[in-house]
Symmetry: C2
Subunit: 754 residues, 2 copies
């Protein structure tokens, strides 16, 4: 057995570790199929058949312990018996033989093993133990691994079809410039075959399986320098190894290679499946949305948009910041176009009428259209010169980011009328997305050939347009520490306790650095409502870490620069009221890190009018809750509304910040906005603008407007916890929002630290 040394397959440009990974994954000079069956009807019989069908020019070694010949070719009994060490081994044997073969590959110095075999994490304890053994082999031998449960890895350009996916069983595979990666093995065949049907081709595809070694992000990253790859399609089940995915997405953005993703688990039922299926935990869908946005990955909701959307994405630059994306819709059939407008509108894309200037140009060109969101050429006539002149004007109109062209029945048999002018405008200023309303395969093929994005369904068209227009450039910088301490030491978080002297409540609430907090009752739903399944807390890893008490929590918020009103901690056995930093009426709360739902257990008393009443209230609480040692006194201060702000270090995707409308309805309507932390004030404003309930704080129906700027500052401040690895999660609920110019006040704080 000798090392393979004569490259039969020229590798692409570039060197170093990543180029080496790319080459052994996608340009191996020799491959072994371990467990190759002699029955081409069986899954394990397919890889050799496919490799030969596709004309792979590298050396191929079938390995079969039982037979000296498979599918008419010589077979070897084991990896050790091969005449050379193959660069890439595809293991399709059953579980026990597979484990032995993988060990043998590692020993022999195989560069990468892709493992089809299943029987790992998805089957429970025994499977997880097998995965641990795989990791050990990788760690000790340096062999890299794709899978297990990988349905394959494919380079269509070289015919390297290391796959058992039945959809690859044909000679005319659609070679193109897209790379596809999927958590679900079956989907590589789906992307391939559906892509072929609509003229979309692939450079390579990979089913990443359980990702015990190489993750989806790493594999995508390995081929980033491949000059024959223009963009990426991702089919995701989880955000496992999100850090790798993010690093890849950032580099892809820099390389101007767009990334389009579909992720399962939009619904709770769907997420449950993801857990059952792969053993991986799927987070809530808007967490995934925040992640994609932050990474600059465009996300679609429909399968068709995933397959058909990349040509569009390649034409639409990702904006750094949102402005309302604005599309023109021009059509020869109003009803057909309206089918695209509805889902566009529901995905937040503004379908706008042309500007006065653009109307002027249309009129000057003799094109009769009525003033409407829809540029309807029905009356003008579905003729070449009409459509061409219209597109010439629209693709150079500054008010539009993108032109959606919807062509009616003529597209089927008379493409020269309204489809050809689109093709002839393909190089024009603004990107175009096309929906041909009737079945019109030939016209679609012609559009595809001209590089014009076109879609089979109105929903996919709208989906891809919205995904293209609403994605962002990824954030490239990682969060830098903002707190002077660098690392939070919760055990030493000092705070001063009020003793009656000092500033007035106003100064305390308006000022910057103070160590007190003010309790303000909720004007909408009573004090101390916890957020149930809405809040970050509930989805975090319960039970880990230590919860700070409310007072310690305020100290942390104070260091972040989030205004907290004054607050005094008292022993529950006091027999007279101390002089307070603030006036009556006051609120009384139990102070204990063990109690997070204070009001549910009678741990909150509001509106205490004077000192004797305070003493009585403390006594009553002592009787009611004998386990409690300390209480907190705060002034009653009202605002004009309240919000919930929160921070969590998500195990998959890292630091997250959240803002949600406050009060009990919030939980019911799940009205919240999420981003990866940290965020600046601009992004915080954007988050606030996404909340429907926050309309109540922006001067709704003559009500006073709240201090949105202060709210945004508080969100941004809380998000800076991203630089504090000690903090697992933090939640302010409520943050009381006062009138414009009067700031916000944190009125409760729950913080959990490692």
């Amino acid at each position: 057995m000798r090392r393979s040394d004569k490259p039969q397959q020229p590798t692409s440009v570039g060197g170093g570790e990543k180029a080496r990974l790319r080459d052994i994954l996608f340009f191996p000079r020799s491959v072994a199929v371990i467990g190759q069956s002699n029955d081409p009807g069986k899954t394990a019989g397919r890889p050799l058949k496919f490799l030969r069908q596709a004309g792979f020019s590298g050396r191929v070694y079938p390995v079969n312990a039982q037979r000296g010949e498979v599918l008419g070719e010589r077979a070897w009994p084991s990896v050790e018996a091969l005449p050379e060490v193959p660069e890439h081994a595809y293991v399709v044997a059953s579980i026990d033989s597979a484990m032995e073969a993988i060990k043998a590959c590692g020993r022999a110095g195989v560069a990468v093993a892709t493992v089809l075999t299943d029987g790992f994490a998805e089957v429970g304890e025994a499977g997880r133990a097998r995965e641990a053994r795989l990791r050990e082999i990788v760690a000790t031998t340096g062999m890299r691994m794709v899978g297990p449960s990988s349905l394959g890895i494919v380079n269509l350009r070289t015919g390297m079809l290391l796959t058992a996916n039945a959809a690859f069983d044909e000679p005319n595979l659609p070679v193109g410039r897209i790379f596809a990666a999927s958590h679900s093995g079956g989907m590589i065949g789906t992307l391939l075959s559906r892509g072929k049907a609509c003229g979309i081709g692939f450079a390579g595809l990979v089913s990443v399986g359980n990702e015990v070694d190489l993750s989806l992000g790493e594999i995508c990253d390995a081929v980033l320098d491949d000059p024959e790859i223009d963009g990426y399609l991702l089919f995701l089940e989880t955000l496992r190894h999100a850090d790798r995915l993010r690093a890849f997405a950032q580099r892809a953005a820099t390389a101007c290679k767009p990334v389009l993703a579909y992720k399962l688990g939009r619904s709770a039922q769907g997420r449950e499946l993801a857990v059952t299926h792969t053993g991986a935990l799927a987070g809530e869908d808007d967490v995934a949305g925040a992640f994609f946005r932050d990474c600059g990955i465009a996300r679609v909701e429909t399968l068709s948009a995933l397959i058909e959307g990349l040509p569009l994405l390649g034409r639409v630059p990702a904006p750094q910041k949102t402005r309302n994306p604005c599309a023109a819709v021009v059509t020869t059939t109003a009803g057909g176009a309206a089918m695209v407008v509805d889902p566009l509108a529901s995905r937040g894309v503004d379908v706008a009428a042309p500007s006065e200037a653009t109307y002027g140009r249309l009129n000057a060109a003799g094109i009769k259209v009525s003033r409407s969101r829809l540029i309807d050429l029905t009356l003008a006539g579905a003729r070449y010169e009409i459509m061409k002149a219209t597109l010439d004007i629209l693709t150079t109109a500054p008010e539009f980011d993108l032109i959606v062209v919807v062509v009616g029945s003529s597209a089927r048999f008379y493409p020269e009328l309204a489809v050809q002018p689109i093709i002839d405008s393909a190089g024009a200023g603004k990107p175009m997305a096309v929906f041909l309303v009737p079945e019109a395969l030939q016209a679609r093929a012609a559009l595809g050939k001209a590089g014009v994005a076109n879609f089979y369904t109105p929903e996919a068209c709208a989906d891809a347009v919205a995904a293209a227009l609403t994605r962002r450039l990824p954030r490239l910088s990682s969060p830098s520490p903002l707190l002077p301490s660098g690392r939070l030491r919760p055990s030493s978080m000092g705070y001063r306790q009020g003793r009656g002297e000092g500033a007035s409540p106003q100064a305390q609430t308006g000022g910057k650095a103070h160590s007190f907090a003010t309790f303000v009752p909720s004007p909408l739903g009573g004090a101390g409502n916890r957020c149930g399944d809405l809040c970050l807390q509930a989805s975090g890893a319960e039970g880990r870490g230590r919860t700070l008490d409310e007072f310690e929590g305020y100290a942390l918020l104070d260091r972040l620069g989030i205004p907290c009103a004054p607050s005094t901690a008292l022993d529950v056995n006091v027999t007279h009221a101390p002089a307070l930093l603030f006036g009556y009426p006051v609120a009384l709360k139990v102070l204990s890190s063990a109690i997070t739902h204070k009001s549910d257990i009678g741990g909150v008393t509001l509106g205490i009018p004077d000192a004797p009443a305070l003493v009585a209230a403390i006594a009553a609480m002592r009787t009611r809750l004998p386990q409690v040692g300390r209480v907190l006194v705060q002034p009653m201060i009202g605002g004009i509304g309240e919000v919930l702000i929160g921070y969590r270090h998500d195990p998959d995707i890292g630091p997250l910040v959240l803002v949600a409308t406050g009060g009990i309805y919030t939980e019911i309507y799940r009205d919240r906005s999420l981003r990866l932390a940290p965020v600046d004030a601009d992004t915080a404003h954007e988050m606030i603008a996404e909340l429907q309930g926050l309309r109540l704080l922006t001067g709704y129906r003559g009500k006073p407007a709240g201090d949105i700027a202060a709210m945004a500052q508080a969100v941004a401040a809380l998000s800076r916890l991203a630089a504090e690895p000690a903090v697992i999660e933090a939640e302010v609920n409520p943050l009381v929002v006062r009138a414009q110019g009067e700031g916000v006040v944190a009125v409760d704080a729950v913080v959990r630290v490692r």
Copy 2:
């Protein structure tokens, strides 16, 4: 010129007026194409070409005022010059000639004219005047009319292609058993061509245009007895002529012919287009939803589901009442199946795991599946006998309404593995819906041939499944008058005014017949919040009719059986407080039918503690609002929540009843449920269960539960206004909901009558 008397086209069975209409529309013995052009590339050149291409065997008369020959055939100069009176004329001339020709058709005794020509309501005033003239011709001559702006009427079985739609320009049109009707002309070509691509064929298609005479519902109804038609596809832009559509849908349900509809205007932007495009007003989308549900029409959200869904609908019986629809999802590819589960869940279909009994049967058959919502055959193997045995068990499992089968890559080249068993189970107990994940045209064709509903996209599959499982049998009865008076006489609505003697407030609020009302302040958002664009009022025809004052409104509610607490009307100039039927504290409101937003103008004073304070408050209100003559006094009575209930006679679809969560958040989250009125208490309960915000009144997080039964009774009672043509709209906002067993109380009432 003589009447055509020799039927060349055998008409289908049946007689009478409707059969006659069916025959002249779809089985004419002679047709004229008026304005037929000699240029087959022009729109007006197509009908003759298409008729000949399709081999129409009836007599065809091209009419062209300029030429004696068109497309190589003899042409006549006018309708009058024809050798016989054609049964059906298709008018494709330009507007002025068309108007003349239509007149001539009417005079000559043409049975039906279908008018392609545009230049009617969609172009404004002059166009509307032309439509009026068309109506006059119809009324005076008895000639029926389809259009104007009808892109055609087609009977594929006889080759009667009276259409100018470019997508009909081919010889092999897909003949089948579906009838399609569309407001949008282009869509008949879309349904035809896309249907053909997926094996769906049509008996006939019609573009109904502006519906000046024959409406979409009437045309569908005319072919209901056609034994070669199995079901209907509707593409709707508005609910114009909803009464006709409803009558048709009711008869279609009786005839077991399913009706599947797609309606534009889900978004506000989309509705705006509908207005611009056809001149018709489009109502809000949930109003349309209530209408479809009431009529038993299944509604889909995607174009593909419209085209592919009817074979499924034909297999799924419409339930009379909801139970949670429950689907099994069985698959050979978990990732592919999860793409269907997500949109199913978001459309309210429960994807359930098999019962213990069903698991037992699967185990007994040797089929290994893990316990999950997804019946995943990956481990068991995608083989014929596995899939067949699984389907045998699932299609006879009582817990499922429907089986969704999702087949992975094998479907493309190995349909014998997992697709053939579906075909072999096609006649089984439960209906099946199939999604083939890869591109698999041949397998789809085989499924289609076997009558198994299958879908190109996962979204369309879920959409059609949800539409099939959530539709209802139509309500066949029309509302009967429930008020003894039969017709409301608002001018004589008497009420007694309290004078201090009589029952206690409790008796008044709990009792049945009383003429007073109690004002209760909103605990969540202040009293008297109006509902803005949420309420029925705003969407009604403002300005018509007379608004009752609040006192008269209570009298109406009282007659309907909706509890109203006591209330006393006073002259604003009183100088001493009268003895009240109820105790202090009280609320004071202005009483004027001219003022609907009382609290906005300072017309409400709450919590008045005693008689002197009441006199002072009245005096203050007199000063503040000098235009007001009377005030209303009511006790302060709180509840545990509030809702809005409303009734409106919608100009399109008739009486509607609504329930929405109360308070200011309601308006922001638009949390409401609508039905056609009247509804019974069961339906009212169903409506209440649809409101997210109402969770607050059903014992949410330990809060007291509200009197849901009383709320449902009030909704049902208000809905009985459907029998009162005098009432245009009525709204109770808020209806205070008290604790379980304590009832509800109407606390404000706005009623508008003719």
